[in-house]
Symmetry: C2
Subunit: 232 residues, 2 copies
DNA sequence: GATTGACTCGTACATGGTACGAGTCAAAGT
DNA sequence: ACTTTGACTCGTACCATGTACGAGTCAATC
């Protein structure tokens, strides 16, 4: 069911010139191999990485792919769909590096990888809270579940343990990213934090907001949580 | 610096009629006490509660306040500003119910109140990740900091402990709300989850996604975390 | 040669944020 | 008494964006 036409012809290699300073002049496909869900998702991720959540518009996406805007809609339902696909595409997990470690090492590796994947694409922390679970997230939960069971966590506690770990990782990652996102100007942000923390003495003394060792804090806190969860 | 005019006069009690079925026909101020930052924020929260994040538009907000859209901009910088103010306004903490409990009780009370406040306004979980720290959040962190110090947590560990708790609460709350947000149709959502979890055997067996005792899981997981954090 | 169905895309519209500058009004200054 | 001022209101206009609609292409099949 389709036929007809109306306007003029394409506008293939137009690239509005205002958007010319893009990274990766590489893999601009020479022959524009026509659209596909995969190419769209890949382009969306590139755009999100470069421009953030608000930088992704259907028009820009089409531009980048050398296609008309409405062509995208043959492959995806709508913009939400693009977000879902981009998010899940970034959360794939390839498993622990070597053959079996101890369960704690496995869990830590997976969770640190999770956090790292998201921080490589900070927009993911803004998207995750509002979208449903994609296959890659579910795989991670599945893996976590298996590992904890094998580790001897009581059946009744496994779900609580999973959610606790999930919560911890999500909270840490989202928070971490929001400090990066909410002020591009590092110096100004630091200033603002200092000014703020002056009004909150205890926080100020401990430099809660000024400490930069996010990775260390993440690891250490995760340690505490695992201590609490360990079958004693 | 200002003068002149151009168009016609107001459109005070218009209320587009499509939006007539609003809750609280109460506190519609009879005399339209003119705009103020506070009234704007209050109206924004009402709108967000009723319509969600996407439901808040400057036009609707103005409508609800019986004012012109552009009048809002005298009191707030822009829409982002409205979001910031609305979010912080919802996070006030009034302290623990009685006089001093044990530290653990205090911490648990504050964190459960935090979670409850946000779940009362589910849109807050979508906003928090992208905005800076407002005064009410900082107060909570301050309080937490004081309590943990008094409880005997080693100085070197206090910050890690605070962030761990924050992360846990944020993750739990955001996750919880996203399950509510991402599908209004409860039955369909449940269906979808069931279908999904069939492809992930361990998760399926433990009914990770189908268990509804969010409050219990939150409390129990928090318990584990506090176990790990407790000065032993 | 006609049909079909997968895919592309221009046009058009509705919605939303907000720049701009004109307007009101009460209080202070003269 | 008039003017000035500055706090506040608001209509208009513009621009960006998502996407409905329906027309168009083209290769494979009949």
């Amino acid at each position: 069911m389709a036929a007809k036409r109306s306007g003029a012809r394409g506008k293939r290699p137009q690239r509005t010139s205002e958007t010319s300073e893009w990274l990766q002049p590489l893999h601009e496909p020479r022959s524009e191999p026509s659209l596909s869900r995969e190419r769209i998702v890949a382009a969306a991720v590139e755009l999100l990485d470069a421009q953030g959540v608000d930088g992704l518009t259907m028009r820009r996406l089409a531009d980048r792919l050398g296609s008309g805007v409405m062509s995208l809609y043959w492959h995806v339902d709508n913009k939400e769909d693009v977000f879902d696909l981009a998010l899940d595409s970034v959360l794939e997990y390839r498993g622990p590096p070597q053959i079996a470690q101890d369960w704690r090492g496995e869990v830590v590796h997976m969770l640190e990888d999770w956090r790292a994947s998201m921080l490589r694409h900070p927009w993911s922390t803004l998207l995750l809270p509002r979208r449903a679970l994609g296959p890659n997230i579910l795989s991670r939960l599945e893996l976590l579940s298996k590992t904890l069971s094998r580790a001897g966590v009581a059946d009744a506690d496994v779900n609580v343990a999973i959610w606790s770990l999930w919560n911890y990782v999500m909270g840490a990652t989202i928070t971490r990213a929001s400090f990066d996102l909410s002020d591009d100007d590092r110096a100004a942000a630091q200033q603002r934090l200092t000014r703020l923390s002056e009004r909150y003495p205890t926080i100020e003394r401990s430099r809660l907001l000024l400490d930069n060792d996010w990775d260390g804090a993440f690891r250490k806190g995760l340690g505490f949580l695992l201590d609490g969860l360990s079958p004693r």
